[in-house]
Symmetry: C2
C-alpha cells in the first residue's frame, strides 16, 4: 500500500509530466518546489520510488514515471477531482473551498468508495474547475482548449476551465461573476501592455494577462478550440 507521501509524489509527477505541455521528464528541483520540500528530500524519495518501480531515474538524471507509477498517480488525480465535485455538487462548497479538503480526501483508499461516489455524482466528466476527471480505468480525456489570450478581438468564446486554481484567482472570478460555461467577448486589446477589454454577460471589464492566460475557452458555436470554421 502506498503512503500519503508517496501518493503525493506520484500525483505531482503526473501533473508535471502527464497532462502539462512539454516533456515527460522532470528534474529534482522542479519536483521539490511543486511539493514544497527541499531537493535533498526529493532525491531520497525518488530513490525509494525507483526501488518500487514507480519511476525511472538515475543519479543526476531526469525523473519520469513508469506505467504503474503513472496509473497510480492518475488514480490519485481521479480521487481528488471526484471529491472536489462531490463537495461542490452535494455539499454546496464553492469552487475555491474544494481543493484544500480534496488534498486530504484523495488519500482515502477504497475503490468501492470512489466508484460509488462517481455513480452518485452521475459519472461527471469535469470537476468544478473544468478539469477532466480520469475514469475508473485511469484514462483521462482532455479536450482541446485555448486560453482567452489566444482569442481575437471581436470574437466570442465559451469558458470551459480555469488554469490557475488558486483561491485568490477564483475569488477574483467570483467578483467578476464569471462561471464555467459563461460567454466572453473580446472587445479590445491594448498591444502595449496586453490589457484586454472583455464583456461577460453584458458587463465590461478590463483585465490583465494574468486573467487571459488562465482562462481556458472554446468556440461557443462548435465547441472546438482549433480549426473552427464557424
Amino acid at each position: 500500500m502506498l503512503s500519503f507521501t508517496e501518493e503525493n509524489y506520484l500525483k505531482a509527477l503526473v501533473q508535471l509530466t502527464g497532462f502539462e505541455v512539454g516533456s515527460k521528464e522532470v528534474g529534482v528541483n522542479k519536483l521539490a518546489s511543486k511539493l514544497n520540500v527541499k531537493p535533498a528530500t526529493v532525491t531520497d524519495m525518488v530513490k525509494r520510488l525507483k526501488e518500487k518501480s514507480f519511476v525511472n531515474y538515475k543519479k543526476y538524471g531526469k525523473i519520469s514515471l513508469t506505467d504503474s507509477g503513472e496509473k497510480l498517480g492518475m488514480f490519485v488525480v481521479r480521487r481528488h477531482r471526484l471529491w472536489e465535485t462531490f463537495l461542490h455538487d452535494q455539499l454546496d462548497f464553492s469552487w475555491n473551498e474544494v481543493h484544500e479538503l480534496a488534498e486530504d480526501l484523495e488519500h482515502i483508499h477504497s475503490e468501492k468508495l470512489i466508484n460509488g461516489l462517481d455513480k452518485l455524482l452521475g459519472y461527471p466528466s469535469f470537476d468544478p474547475h473544468g478539469d477532466a476527471i480520469p475514469n475508473s480505468k485511469g484514462e483521462i480525456f482532455i479536450p482541446f482548449r485555448k486560453t482567452l489570450s489566444e482569442v481575437e478581438v471581436n470574437e466570442s468564446c465559451r469558458v470551459v476551465a480555469v488554469k490557475d486554481n488558486s483561491s485568490d484567482f477564483l475569488q477574483y472570478l467570483d467578483k467578476l461573476g464569471l462561471k464555467i460555461n459563461d460567454t466572453i467577448k473580446i472587445i479590445q486589446l491594448e498591444e502595449f501592455d496586453s490589457l484586454t477589454t472583455i464583456k461577460i454577460n453584458d458587463k465590461q471589464f478590463v483585465v490583465s494577462p494574468k486573467f487571459t492566460e488562465n482562462i481556458y475557452v472554446v468556440c461557443p458555436t462548435c465547441g472546438k478550440a482549433k480549426n473552427c470554421t464557424c
Copy 2:
C-alpha cells in the same frame, strides 16, 4: 492540530471511559489492547497527551480524559458514525463494510464537511449499527436499552442496535435476516447452556449467548427498556 494517532487515542478513551458502563478511568494495558499497540507505546503517548492537557494521568496511575480531550474524542466518534451513515445510506455499503473505511475518513478535519454531510443525511440520530451520533456540539444522547439476554420468555422486543460490530457477527445477522427495527420473540430458554430459541419474522432459530448478549433491544410497544408497563 491533532495527528491521526492522537485522535485514535482520544477516541479509544471516549469508548473505554465514556459511553461504556463502569469507571471513568482506564489502565495502560487496557488502552494498549484496544489500540493494538504495546503498553510501552501507550505510556509514551499518554505523557504527550498529558502535556497537551487532553488526559489526567500520573505515573503508575489510571488515565482519564479532561474536558477538552473528551470533546475532541467525541468529535472523532461523530465523524466516524456520520461517515458510516453516509456510506450506508448514500453509497449502498452494507453495515459490515462501513466501519473499516470510516476508521480512515474520521480523521479528515473539516467542520464544514462534516456538518454538510450531517445535513445531506437529514441529521441522523443513529448510525447503521444503531449507535447514537454525537451532535455538532459534541453531545451524545444514548437511549436506555437492554440486551436480548435480559428479555423474558414469551416476551417480544424490537432490535435497536448491535453491540458487537465485527464483520463476522454482522454477517451472521445477515444470514439470519436480522435488521435494525426487527421484532424478536423469545420462545424458549434452556437454563443449562443458555441456548435460546427465538423467532424473527416468523422464522425460528436457536442462538447462543454470543448472540443474545450482543443485540440491544427495547419494548416494541413503548420503546422503553426499563419500567415498561405494557
